[in-house]
């Protein structure tokens, strides 16, 4: 056991400090739900650390202290009902505490808050899930082998490919301090949406729509994520980037993306017409 701890400590010492940031806790800092998960995790970690040290300590002590010695006689104890009931109840109590803590924390993890005052100005919508005032930006996330596609704006679920709404691939651009609701789907196999700093993962299962949300406070931040469910040979390459910009920049980007898509569409349309005219299609 000592060796085991020394080994863990050794690892800590070898590693550069920045690599240590997530040695014991999950990533967080990008969104309130990620922060709440992190603080829930830490409560579990503290309790677990006490149990771990207690149990391993008792084990180590027993093994070292009670090694066979000349003349030593093993105590012929068959059990101790009180003690056994005691530790069963104690284990149960720890779990009761964990249960209570989890359910107390849960709303702050699954319910999105309102956008901040500096966030993008939005109108209310009827689609779930919603922050208390109903104002949020919906982004439809669609997983497919081996890229993520994002469609921006409410109603994206119904017409993700209708061409009206702006979309992007791999890199999602979002306004800062704004509640973003993600409607997650998959078009081929199961994928899993996960940007660690922005909260937990949500599976993208074909035939289902799943939801999550995040609210990133800092413009200029860039968050990395990647597909977390084995989805085929290029699973490792199915990465995601979330770029947080100011609401004004977001609106500008959205317009520019819209125009770029329209320009590309009309180019393709012209090309198609030419090819059709030349009987090459």
């Amino acid at each position: 056991m000592g060796l085991f701890l020394a080994l863990a400590l050794g690892c800590l010492l070898i590693l550069a400090p920045d690599a240590l940031a997530n040695f014991l806790t999950p990533k967080s800092g990008g969104s309130p739900n990620a922060n709440q998960i992190d603080s829930l995790y830490k409560i579990v970690l503290y309790i677990a650390a006490v149990v771990f040290v207690g149990v391993e300590g008792a084990l180590l002590y027993s093994v070292l202290k009670f090694r066979a010695k000349r003349g030593a006689v093993a105590a012929q104890i068959h059990g101790n009902t009180r003690l056994e009931i005691g530790w069963t109840v104690a284990a149960g109590l720890i779990l009761v505490v964990l249960t209570v803590v989890t359910f107390v924390k849960l709303p702050s993890i699954i319910d999105p808050p309102n956008s901040g005052s500096s966030g993008l100005v939005l109108s209310a919508s009827l689609t779930e899930p919603t922050p208390p005032n109903g104002h949020r930006l919906t982004v439809c996330v669609q997983g497919r082998q081996f890229i993520w596609r994002y469609t921006y704006g409410s109603g994206c679920l119904n017409n993700a490919f209708a061409g009206k709404l702006p979309y992007s691939y791999q890199q999602m651009v979002v306004p800062a301090d704004t509640t973003i609701v993600l409607d997650i789907q998959a078009s081929d196999v199961i994928h899993s949406w996960w940007v660690p700093s922005l909260g937990g993962k949500v599976d993208a299962v074909p035939g289902y729509t799943t939801y999550t949300w995040f609210k990133a406070p800092h413009p200029g931040a860039l968050y990395h994520g990647q597909c977390a469910q084995l989805c085929g040979r290029n699973h490792a390459a199915m990465t995601a980037l979330v770029k947080v910009v100011s609401p004004a920049d977001f609106t500008a980007w959205l317009n520019q993306q819209q125009q770029a898509i329209q320009a590309a569409n009309s180019q393709v349309y012209q090309l198609r017409q030419i090819l059709t005219a030349e009987n090459q299609l």
Binding site: L7, I37, W87, G207, Q229
Partner: protein
Amino acid sequence: MSSSDYALRPVPQVISHEVVKPRQTKRWVDWVLTTDHKKIGIMYMVTTFVFFILGGVEALLMRVQLGVPNNTLITSEHYNELLTLHGTTMIFLFVVPVMAGFGNYFVPLMIGARDMAFPRLNAMSFWLLLLGGVVFYITLFYHPPESGWWSYPPLSSKLYSPSGGQDAWIFLIHITGVSSLLGAINFYATIVNMRAPGMSWGRLPLFIWAILVYAILLIIALPVVAAAVTMLLTDRHFGTHFFDPTAHGSPVLWQHLFWFFGHPEVYIMILPGFGIISEVIPVFSRKPIFGYKAIAASTAVIAFLATLVWAHHMFASPVPVVVLGFFMLSSFLIGVPTGVKIFNWIATLWRGSIVTTTALYFAVGFIAVFVLGGITGIFLAVFPVDWQLNNTYFVVAHFHYVLMGGAVFSIFAGIYYWFPKMTGRLLNETLGKLSFWLMFIGFNATFFVQHALGLSGMPRRVYTYPPGVGWSTYNLISTIGSFILGAGILVTIANVARNYRHGKVAGPDPWKGNTLEWFTTSPPPVNNFDSIPRVRSVEPMRDIRRQVERQTGVTQKTGGSERFARV
């Protein structure tokens, strides 16, 4: 009488005789046609160890690939094949059947029976296991499956996994499933009907309790996965759409069916390990097991709860919050009986007179690492936390702590404990302890840092990763550790290979055992016992030894374990 004679004197004097009859057939024909539970047990163990080595090589290949970022040694296709082969092999072809191997050899001996209830069915179980393994591994010559050991559709459907490798995986589940079911029925019938006179349920050795519950869990869980893979097979080839979302099928249905089997499977793998530990620790503490009833009862409670926790594998899947809450609570609950076992084992060591044999080293090492595996299990049961940890290297670390650190360490404890009984020879203790320390250090180096990898955002099942994201150092440590672990396993294999012929003669009871298998010669004759003693407690051998001491007035020494203890 010289002192060495004294140490080697079979004690108590065992009455059992091998019936010597002239060999009519060739030695290998004997093995192929045998219905002797001991020979079948040995065949199980040898076969499963071959698969263990194969699975281990697959693991090392993956670790080599992940040792440095952007590695191109193994392609993503082959990496996916390796992870599927590794997981499937370790679960279906190693841990589950090796426990059946131990069970085969020791259930009849420990309950004082002369064979299993259905010896021929027993032989069939073994040959089906081998067949399942061959059907699966033959895919190496065409196209191994590559959708992981869960084979989630639609990835495992015909459209996304067209190769026959996926079908071979399905047949592996079918064939080894039938093998395990037949074995489970056999264990159940044997334990219920063939116990020695006086061996009531309250006197059943804890390993036998574990095998009994293992059998019941197999009978509950295996039909479900058999049905699920049959549905997958018909989806793939006969136009059904059970799991096809484009035709109103549901991929989530597969997840429920698979994990309804998959989580009991975890306890199927670990409960017999718990049983081995519950045998080894009292023997080498020279103390009765602390809280026999609590340990036996916790085995049954774990089995019951094991059928109610499956959806904690699906916390990121589309399931309602009420389901999340229920499965968090049921997963918490299963921590209680597991904790009870650990406390009881430590209490058994407490105030004992601990004989530090290799078997004890592995048993204590098992507790040490299993505690951490259990604790990280609680992290994963908290579903909001699981949203961060699910499908990352944290989970990989967790289940290797319970299955590699847990089940495999208990298997090694079992090997060092029972090898003298199976072969009549002792393993080398120095090599054994070297093997233990290499495995213990290598294991922790490999898997402890994987918690950190998961927490820093590395998903499992990726064949490579970019540099500069804080994963490289952890991965390198893990890879180095895996080779230390592999070296430790090789030392034990060398130990076994050398000592099954050349080891020191063990005598019938080298450890001062508590249970009936030590009441016969090592190795036992075909009929196991000439006469079966009446059982008066949970430690019949101890009673017999005491009685001999009373009658002869001579303190009974054992056949060899004094050599390892400073007594």
